[in-house]
């Protein structure tokens, strides 16, 4: 029976961990008093001996996860992405420096977090994590892809940063797909422009593609769920086969997906890249989509950027 209720990427986290628990007895989960929110408490209730709540202590959480990994466990730890930033040193100098089997979950990330306000809307996590050697960075857009990518991360040795969000996401892949970390998904083909998005901006990119289609513009839509390692081949192909790439992300324009795409396109063959992202401004309270729109994160903004690139090409 089809489950009509839309699910979030954090629901996918909870399900992926429960699914992996049986076949992976070495899997342990560490929380910092936010595990109900992250859905990781479901693992904790099913496998209490393998779940550790360290309280509101993010640095200790990451250190304990590292110690478990150093002893041979696969450790998943996480909290709200913004709180994780208290533990960047532990993530950098232990988890990544020693290439440990620790998966770090940044939850309730981005402006979409909405009502809690700017203090809770991390817009810099991807940039920070991307700059740390050995760290892979994944920001899935819907339940199905998140569940598959988290499952792959859990069964792949080494550090991962995985960004999940609170609100339920529309199903981008109702029919599923064979997701792989490091391989971008071309969701819709198109030849005039490419829209490369991740996380909550993927549904916006699809809306933007519809809108462009009604104007006779054929847009390719790419889900760049893995920001590191970035799927350069798919992006460079898009840059050469279309008029340019518009990136879209719920993140600061500095250091995120837009930067990653611009780096690779500029260094390897050229092409135009337009970046739809937060314009280096902290967020504020409001409904998630309302806050995002106020910061230029919407299908309309993607359409506008695509039109700007195509218009510039014509001149």
């Amino acid at each position: 029976m089809a489950d009509a209720k839309p699910k979030s990427t954090r629901d996918a986290l909870g399900d992926a961990l429960l699914d992996a628990a049986q076949s992976k007895p070495n899997l342990v989960v560490i929380g910092a008093d936010t595990s109900e929110s992250l859905q990781t408490m479901r693992f904790g209730k099913a496998y209490p001996a393998r779940f550790f709540n360290v309280g509101i202590a993010e640095q200790n959480m990451v250190g304990v996860a590292a110690g478990l990994a150093l002893y041979g466990k696969t450790a998943v730890c996480g909290t709200y992405a913004v709180f994780l930033e208290r533990a960047i040193d532990q993530i950098r100098n232990t988890v990544a420096y020693c290439d440990l089997d620790v998966k770090i979950i940044g939850a309730h990330a981005g402006l979409v977090t909405g009502p809690d306000g700017g203090s809770h809307q991390t817009i810099e996590d991807i940039a920070i994590m991307r700059a740390i050697p050995n760290m892979r960075v994944v920001a899935p857009c819907d339940y199905a892809s998140a569940k598959a990518l988290i499952a792959e991360a859990v069964s792949t040795r080494g550090p991962f940063y995985i960004r999940v969000v609170r609100p339920a996401s529309p199903a981008v892949y109702p029919g599923g797909s064979s997701f792989r970390v490091g391989r971008a998904e071309v969701i819709r083909d198109g030849s005039d422009i490419a829209l490369a998005a991740n996380g909550v901006m993927v549904p916006e990119a699809l809306k933007a593609a519809d809108s462009l289609a009604s104007r006779g513009i054929s847009a390719r839509v790419i889900d760049c769920h893995t920001i590191k390692p970035l799927d350069g081949a798919t992006l460079l192909k898009a840059a050469s086969e279309t008029g340019g790439i518009v990136t879209a992300e719920d993140h600061n324009r500095f250091g995120g997906l837009g930067s990653a795409v611009a780096e690779i396109v500029a260094a390897r063959g050229g092409g135009t890249v337009g970046i739809v992202a937060d314009d280096d401004r902290f967020g504020e309270s409001g409904d998630g989509t309302e806050v995002m729109a106020a910061h230029g994160l919407s299908a309309e903004a993607i359409v506008g950027e695509a039109a700007r690139i195509l218009g510039r090409k014509k001149r």
């Binding site: 640095q59 590292a66 100098n93």
Partner: protein, 284 residues
């Protein structure tokens, strides 16, 4: 020096005078390798020698010819700046050769300025940033318990390190999880980079603080190998709670002109001073 020891079982029958000789050898090696590397931490390496000697030569189960032995006890050097002491101990047990010991801090060496477990087997955790070793020791102790292993986990911190908030996050957690197979040791040498710990951030009531955090607290003379051995034994009798051994030490111990002098935290010394240290290093 310690190459003829069988490290495979705990609580070895040892002659304390012999261990003092080993500590003297380690201390001389610290002076040699730091004299060669030019940079590095003198004071905090010299203060931790007896602690390392008691752990590695008396208490812990480990295997220098198979550092990754799964059943080994774990020693985490959270005060990673004492790397020269760790490497000197390694050279005296056969983990590394004395020739390799002299490559400390050189490009291409496995002996990083702060220990790196990826590069050098035997090192359990990366050192450098203060305050994280206790958290990692908790993770290891939880993993050992989960696996039904009788592993004992030891972690050495500095007293300056007690400034770090993470230490106290971890202190609460270790007590919560009842990790009685975890023993922390503070090398309380009274000095940190910029001065006396009592002035930088007063830690004079360390024992009271740790007791309040529900730890079994033992205070010892950190240069008495016999006392440290006794404390390590006593730690095993504290049912249900972790133990912390607060070991009072002297920074720079064994090189008289360095003792208790903050100037020798991590100085770059000229050849004459290094030579003087070589000549004056003492058996403690």
């Amino acid at each position: 020096m310690g190459g003829d020891y069988d490290f495979g079982a705990r609580d070895r029958k040892v002659d304390v005078e012999r261990l003092r000789d080993i500590a003297y050898s380690i201390r001389k090696d610290i002076v040699r390798e730091l004299g060669e590397s030019k940079s590095g931490h003198w004071g905090g390496s010299l203060s931790v020698v007896e602690i390392l000697t008691a752990l590695y030569f008396y208490k812990m189960r480990h295997n220098p010819s198979n550092p990754a032995w799964a059943d080994r006890d774990r020693l985490l050097l959270s005060k990673g700046h004492a790397a020269p002491a760790l490497y000197a101990a390694f050279a005296n047990m056969g983990y590394i050769t004395h020739d390799e010991m002299m490559t400390l801090r050189k490009h291409g060496s496995r002996l990083q300025g702060h220990p790196d477990p990826h590069k050098l087997p035997g090192v359990e955790i990366p050192g450098g940033p203060e305050g994280i070793g206790l958290s990692e020791s908790i993770g290891m102790a939880l993993a050992a318990r989960l696996d039904g292993k009788d592993t004992r986990v030891y972690v050495i911190m500095g007293d300056g390190e007690q400034d770090e908030g993470e230490v106290w996050e971890a202190a609460m957690a270790a007590a919560k999880f009842g990790l009685d197979h975890l023993t922390a040791i503070i090398d309380k040498n009274g000095l940190q980079q910029e001065g006396a710990t009592g002035e930088i951030m007063p830690t004079d009531s360390l024992a009271e603080k740790w007791r309040a955090f529900r730890w079994n607290v033992i205070e010892v003379d950190g240069h008495s190998i016999r006392d440290i051995m006794g404390a390590l034994d006593a730690a095993e009798k504290a049912g249900g709670v972790p133990t912390i051994i607060i070991a009072s030490t002297v920074k720079g111990r064994g090189v008289p002109f360095m003792e208790g002098n903050v100037k020798y935290h991590a100085p770059v010394l000229d050849a004459k001073t290094v030579q003087e240290a070589m000549e004056k290093v003492q058996r403690v």
